[in-house]
Amino acid sequence: MSNPTTITVDDGVPFVDTVREFDAPVSAVFKAHVDPDLLAKWLGPRSTTMNVTEYNTVTGGSWRYESGDGNNPCSGRGVFHKVDPDALIIMTFEFDGAPDQVGISTTTFEEVDGRTRIVAHEVYPSVEARDMALATGMNYGVIEGYERLDELLSA
């Protein structure tokens, strides 16, 4: 049984709020967010390779990755506004499919009852930009999501 995921996407405000706990120490969960090789193992779609070309996870560093396939490319870039090891990542993100629509995400990592809780607050420049970003993400992810669900249901 996996831990529940809480995702809040409210009308009228351009935010996506996500809360999730992991049965692992803060240092491991944080490492999976800042090590590009580890990141590629879980963040990108399984059917395509996720090419992390730049991921300099220090305050003032920058990142870039390319993933998706020819029909549904999903690449983006941004900068790390602040990185506080095992505690906080504040970064900007801009997808190539939506130039000049720059979002900011703040992710905190904290130990709660021996588990690690991450709380992510994403702010988009507008509700429209948020909805577009979520819809684009779904384009390449939804089929795989259902495949994954099939596996879970048959397990």
Binding site: F22, W42, E144, G145
Partner: protein, 96 residues
């Protein structure tokens, strides 16, 4: 217009252990979101569910939730593995 529920406020309230005011507030929120509409029928205020609107909303968000969940389960697996990622190995070293 979607499916007609023909449910008056009083009838909506009966199965729930909350106040009439709270029910009204919830209905107002749903109405504002375009998920239900209300009409006037003498003393009754029937609430009509726009099932299509509700379906569009939940299908859209559910798809996103499914993708996010897939990502987090991959991360769960990664955190539990002792392969090249070495996350668990690091953890054991920290403990010893």
């Amino acid at each position: 217009m979607g499916e007609r529920l023909q449910a008056a406020g009083r009838r909506v309230k009966e199965p729930f252990a909350i106040t009439k005011q709270a029910v009204s507030k919830h209905i107002q929120v749903l109405e504002h979101a375009g998920l239900v509409t209300r009409s006037r029928d003498a003393q009754r205020r029937p609430v009509h569910l726009d099932a299509a609107a509700l379906e569009r909303l939940t299908a859209w968000l559910d798809q996103y939730r499914l993708i996010a969940e897939r990502r987090f389960r991959l991360l769960d697996e990664l955190l539990a593995s002792d392969g090249p990622a070495g996350l668990r190995r690091n953890r054991e070293e920290e403990l010893t």
